[in-house]
Amino acid sequence: MHETKPLGGKILTKPFLVLTGLTLFAVLLVIIRYIFGLASVTNMSDGFPWGIWITYDVLVGTALGCGGYAIAILVYVLNKWQYHALVRPATLTSVFGYTLAGISILIDIGRYWQPYNLVLPWYANVNSIMFEVAACVMTYTFVLWIEFAPALMEGYRHALATVPEKWVKYVPKVARDFDPTSSYTKLNRWIFVFVAVGVLLPTMHQSSLGTLMVIAGRKLHPLWQTGFLPLLFLISAITMGYSIVIFESVLSSLGFKRPMETDMLAKVSGIMPWLIGAYLVIRFGDLLWRGQAGAMFTSGFLSFMFLLENILYVVPLVLLASATNRTSPRMLFLSSLSLILAGSLYRFNAFLVAFNPGPGWHYFPAFSEIMITFGIVAFEIMAYLAIVKRFPVLPKAEHA
């Protein structure tokens, strides 16, 4: 076992205030959305009923939120405890990835005041892919918070102690006296159940997110429309999960001036070429099998997007196949970035770019639509920074 420790330091830094500004601007736009309807802030239409909120915030956001899932498989299922230091930061990213995807959905859905209909047996439609996705994502978000709870419980008293003297009187007495130590021990005894459920649920909904587009039939271009959508979405979500862990580890080593976790990252990235290889074999095998291989070159702009998407997969495959590259933080950073872009582009292509509802329909996100997404990402980063500074998430640095 390794030790984790709050980073400490000021929370209200300059970047933090910039992020606060972005978040508040998004809040303002969201208020406008609730008063005047979705048309007031988005460019979505009856032809393109889903925009970047679904494609970016939900699809890309939760796939990046697969860090916790990917590392949990490695540590708890495959019993590779040498990676245990990655668990907490990865889980934290997942907590925010999923929670904010959930918030985006509540901004996006039209009849946001009755989402509980999903759990009413007389309304729930088990044939609906959306039902499976919604039920799974809701449950998993809850499970993630439980998985992350030990870090919050462990660090609670310490975080409380860092509240400046003059503000302490504003903290309610209940919160001041609260000591989660005993519940922490109890939760730790049962946490394995939640970890196991936390491995099952993403396996289910990350694949189902791909299945969502199957019913769009011929509205989705044949380069993307396939019965293998669920499997491709699942594998690419796992690769994105590992990538974000590597990406964040390198970034936080640089940003917080901590030693690189290169040894561990080198081993994690050794899995990647296998996963990417499997993904590409299925991706191209399926095109050949369906006789759509020619469409790779004859679909104009979509051919370009298809090739770009897959080149972004091939680059990390080639880079990470070499053991020397896997020990270079620079190469690790580049290949994880490329994989994140590849998975994101795959999702954008399958849900927006290659989606064609018919002549006359176009979509490009509105400024306010983009700013709401920015606000959500800004809030995510703010919360991440605040938590790693006050709670034991990142591994204790040996030297710095």
């Binding site: 309807g37 009856d46 009923p49 209909n117 439609n125 892919i129 196991a196 694949s207 019913i215 018919g358």
Partner: protein, 319 residues
């Protein structure tokens, strides 16, 4: 202990594979749903339509729909396409000089668009909260705003882009044609058919409508024939000279069949109708999902394996 754990991992990995893997969609697809014997629908004959748009107006009136303005002076209802304000529309196809009615080249044709009331609807399969349902007797596809969460997956799923969303409303709904089923109890039927002066749109049992469509296709252009007005079984008919048809009933088989059927002399794809295969997308989508989640066996096996593995691994590590 070690061997046992490995076996467990294998079993759960198999569960995981069952979860993840899926066969070719053609093999996984569930059986398409069949036409209901008492299904009700509409037959639209573009060669009989004169483009008067009485059906558009009658639809608005009998469904309490607001006008939809496309011109700047906003004098009268002039929708350009279906929307949350317009459930039924007559559109125009025009080619070249547009001289002759119902001709593909240098001609024009009308086309009527509204919900197709599919036999195996994608929207119903897609809706997570059963806000869209198919009447078990007459097959009308209805919308229930009290169930709807506004996720708009029905819009993604519909191959005809029929469900429309109220983008400009704070408390929006989905709007679509419901075949005027609120008018049946008082002896009425779809307003677009009831008020159509030429018999271009006729209402009735789908079986009868298919028979009527086939009868028209068997007529010889140039001969004189009776065309029922209002309902397919109406005694009130128009007697007119038959013009040529493309030998195809759109909706008889498209996407697994629809309850709104069409005849025309201009290829349907030119009129904006998608060239669908006979296989409903809902059958493919549900087939994949049911293969993966059959009896929830795979997820349960997988979860069991995961709980065991995580328990063993955390126990050993903590000791």
């Amino acid at each position: 202990m070690e061997i046992k754990r490995r076996d467990f991992l294998k079993v759960s990995a198999a569960g995981g594979l069952m979860l993840a893997a899926n066969a070719d969609p053609a093999l996984a697809a569930r059986e398409p749903k069949q036409r209901l014997p008492e299904a009700l629908g509409i037959l639209y004959d573009a060669t009989v339509c004169i483009g008067c748009k009485v059906c558009v107006s009658a639809c608005k009136q009998h469904n309490d729909m607001p006008p939809d303005f496309s011109s700047t002076d906003r004098t009268w209802d002039d929708p350009l396409d279906l929307s949350s304000r317009t459930l039924n529309i007559i559109k125009l196809y025009k080619n070249g000089t547009g001289e002759v009615k119902d001709r593909e080249t240098d001609g024009y044709s009308y086309i009527k668009r509204h919900c197709m009331h599919c036999v195996d609807p994608s929207c119903i399969s897609a809706c997570p909260v059963s806000a869209l349902t198919k009447n078990p007797e007459n097959g009308v596809v209805r919308y229930n705003k009290n169930a709807c969460i506004g996720c708009r997956y029905c819009q993604i799923a519909c191959p005809f882009n029929i469900p429309k969303f109220q983008w400009d409303k704070a408390f929006p709904q989905i709007k679509k044609c419901q075949l005027c089923d609120h008018r049946y109890a008082t002896g009425g039927y779809s307003a677009c058919c009831e008020f159509c002066p030429t018999g271009a749109s006729i209402f009735g049992r789908v079986d009868d409508l298919i028979k009527e469509a086939k009868r028209r296709l068997s007529l010889t252009p140039g001969e004189w024939a009776h065309y029922p007005i209002g309902r397919v079984d109406s005694k009130h008919t128009s007697y007119r000279q038959v013009t040529p048809y493309i030998n195809h009933v759109y909706g008889e088989k498209e996407g697994g069949g629809t309850q709104f059927l069409m005849l025309s002399n201009v290829p349907f794809e030119k009129l904006g109708l998608p060239p669908l295969t006979d296989k409903p997308d809902a059958a493919v989508s549900e087939g994949i999902q049911h293969t993966i989640y059959k009896g929830m066996i795979a997820p349960i096996v997988f979860l069991g394996g995961m709980i065991y593995a995580v328990y063993q691994n955390t126990k050993n590590e903590c000791e």
